[in-house]
């Protein structure tokens, strides 16, 4: 049997032969016993693989891989910095104590530094127009902003009520997107998606105590996420950051500052 014959047989198994080549092979197989035997040997392999079942990996494997990912020094995302700063500010706001003049001065310096750090850290990429304050015990009670790149991509709405911050993202663009909703406080916790409307799919990448991360596939999806506060505090200040990114458009960050959680 020649190399050409072998090639003809293998290409037939792989579905690469033209009609003419298949006809030529049929003729070869009917006249050449050795070629027939080789064809049978290769064909059974194809059938054998088709009958092999797919196995599911252990359910714990994904988590163990994610936990084992090393720190690679890939460029840090901005949110942890702002989170820790806001957390520190919150501590200062929520836990005032008698202070000496020097202590007060130190706090003043610290707050100034934090304010500068917020302004100069990666979060300074936030368009000031996209930072809004809402409160359950005052006005305004609704944060409403368009998500805009070069064109309108959707809207974000946020409300606070009964100890819950409700963030709604209406993604109207055709492009797939990723959506991250992060909360500044350990006191808050993400409940998850309250509702998803639309024909597109939503993939929850991760859901931790203070963060939700989704992938949005396709257009026209309306996602409502909830974050809850176990104990309501009238003077509590919370920050919700919403990042939207899609291909070809820089990440867009919205910040919702929430005063009071009643």
């Amino acid at each position: 049997m020649t190399d050409e014959h072998k090639d003809l047989i293998q290409r037939e198994i792989d579905g690469l032969n033209s009609t003419g080549e298949s006809t030529a092979l049929e003729h070869l197989l009917s006249t050449n016993t050795a070629a027939r035997q080789v064809f049978d040997e290769l064909s059974i392999v194809h059938s054998a693989f088709e009958s092999l079942p797919e196995l599911d990996p252990p359910v714990t494997l994904r988590a163990s891989i994610m936990d084992a990912l090393p720190e690679m020094g890939y460029r840090a995302s901005p949110e942890p910095t702002s989170d820790s700063i806001w957390s520190s500010i919150q501590q200062l706001i929520l836990k005032p104590r008698p202070v000496s003049l020097a202590y007060a001065f130190s706090i003043g310096l610290l707050v100034s530094f934090m304010a500068w750090n917020i302004a100069s850290s990666p979060t300074d990429q936030i368009d000031p127009a996209l930072v809004g304050t809402i409160a359950s015990n005052g006005s305004p009670v609704v944060y409403e902003q368009a998500i805009s790149g070069d064109q309108d991509l959707g809207q974000i709405y946020a409300t606070v009520r009964n100890g819950q911050i409700r963030v709604e993202v209406r993604w109207t663009d055709d492009s797939p997107a990723s959506l991250r909703i992060a909360y500044n406080s350990d006191e808050l916790y993400a409940i998850g998606v309250e509702s998803v409307m639309g024909e597109s799919s939503l993939e929850t990448l991760s859901r931790s105590g203070s963060e939700l991360l989704y992938d949005v596939a396709g257009a026209s999806i309306d996602i409502t996420s909830l974050v809850a506060v176990p104990g309501t505090a009238p003077d509590q200040v919370s920050v919700v950051d919403v990042w939207i990114s899609t291909e070809g458009v820089p990440s867009i960050q919205h910040r919702i500052v929430v005063n009071g959680m009643n």
Binding site: V45, F49, L61, L69, L213, E247
Partner: protein
Amino acid sequence: MTSTSDQHVIERVLQGDKRAFGLLLDRYEKVVYNAAYRVLGTEVDAQDVTQTVFLKVYENLSTYNPKYRFFSWMYRIAINESVNAKRRMRQTVELTESTATESNPAEDLLLNADREDQIGIALMELTPENRAILILKHYQEFSYNDIAYIMDLTEGKVKARLFSARQRLGKILLTKGLRAEL
């Protein structure tokens, strides 16, 4: 319906978004695990190699060249890891088992196993490289060109090795009487 491209996810990971790596895991964990299982033959080894593969993918993500498909690049790591792991195991077995057996253990197992198991056991009679090339072609339906990239071979060598691996496995399966049942 579209989904976020691998490239977009990779960019997010490289920007420090470690959790986005979970999306790549969701997409490819199962195929890597299955490929590793078919090369290595046990679930425990497949689990270990799958974890190693994804850690290597993560560690080397900044070196990924987008001119290749991410799936092929990842598979290259997966096949290398699986084949190397099998080689290491074989060396360990050779060192620890000084007594030679008269019969071939794989053939003994083959006689008593179920049909699906028989195919898996027959696969284990091949070299890890031949198993890998069969998995790439029959399990993932990679093109000759993709396999050449993944296994670092010329396309001509891919065809020749694929042919001989198929023929070898086919002979084993036919010898064991699997023809009629398939």
